[in-house]
């Protein structure tokens, strides 16, 4: 899917023509540089590799330095591969070319946003898996309000099944939010206003796919 790499700026809200308030997220996306074009002959599949953000040469691994030099561009911070970048963008997708926000996204498009969700630390099952908890505090309960309850049967199978929902590290996962509407594109500032929430903290990387 064609897409861009960006950063989450923050959330705000706008009003539609009926006066309804829409919560939306502002993303600074692009300009991204094409650092590699993969094709079926040499790589076995079609893909476009884009790079976003600046970093110093001394902070860039030598291997990546060479990779960026090949595309005749400065060292970048984040490199992401997009599979099946549609053929309509073929003339834009050339090694070393810069892809801007207005090349890909238009108002009223539907996009998917990928981000790394905020880390929540070690959480119990109520927060982590949406368990209901023990419904009441009386009738003999005293300290099990948010307990998981039974995790399986007894002598058969005499083990706990793999993948049983339990407490543990929560958040910090790659999360994709589907079908968010593009409300507005600001080409001169590389900004795009997207309806709804996008996973991740402010300033974290966001991948937008169309």
């Amino acid at each position: 899917m064609p897409g861009l790499i960006g950063r989450k700026v923050g959330m705000t809200n706008v009003f539609d023509e009926n006066g309804k308030s829409i919560a939306c997220t502002l993303v600074e996306a692009g300009p991204c540089v094409v650092t590699q074009v993969k094709n079926e002959e040499t790589d076995g599949y079609k893909a476009v590799q884009l790079a976003y953000g600046e970093r110093k040469e001394k902070n860039t691994p030598k291997a990546l330095q060479g990779h960026f030099a090949k595309a005749k561009t400065t060292p970048k911070l984040k490199v992401v591969e997009f599979r099946d970048f549609r053929s309509e963008f073929d003339d834009k997708v050339k090694l070393g070319n810069e892809i801007k926000i207005e090349d890909i996204f238009n108002e009223q498009d539907y996009v998917d946003a990928i981000g790394t969700s905020k880390g929540k630390g070690f959480q119990g099952v109520v927060k982590r898996h949406g368990f209901g908890g023990v419904g009441q505090a009386t009738h003999g309960q005293h300290n099990r309000m948010r307990a998981p309850g039974s995790i399986g049967a007894a002598s058969f199978p005499s083990r706990v099944f793999k993948g049983m929902k339990m407490a543990g590290r929560t958040g910090g996962d790659r999360v994709k939010t589907l079908n968010l509407r593009v409300l507005k594109v600001y080409p001169e500032k590389n900004l795009v206003l997207i309806s709804g929430a996008i996973p991740g903290a402010k300033n974290s990387f966001v991948i937008l796919e169309k």
């Binding site: 950063r7 700026v9 009003f15 006066g19 308030s21 502002l26 600001y186 900004l191 402010k202």
Partner: protein
Amino acid sequence: MSTELLNVVAEEYKDIKAKYPSFSPGDTVNVHYKIKEGNKERVQQFQGTVMQIRNQNSNGETFTVRKVSGDIAVERIFPILTPNIEKIEVLRKGKVRRAKLYYLRGRKGKAARIKEKLRK
């Protein structure tokens, strides 16, 4: 990079706020609010005391107006940037010592009065 870029979005709504007179908690205001009924549109007035202003200077800024009609108090929250507000009139400036006038909720009649702020 910081959230300053959010101002790019806020900029578009600047004029909407600028066309209303400035008011603060304790003031008595009259809000002319457009209401759509089917295809017809009419203007409803809501007059009362501004109880609080929340999220000031952001797109999410709202203000709460409290009025007592009969024996029943009504509080209404308006987003200041909504296109449905036709007009806001400031009828009376109030002298209050806090930003959120929650204490009005526990009071009735004479006790719920707010002194008028006189211009210097």
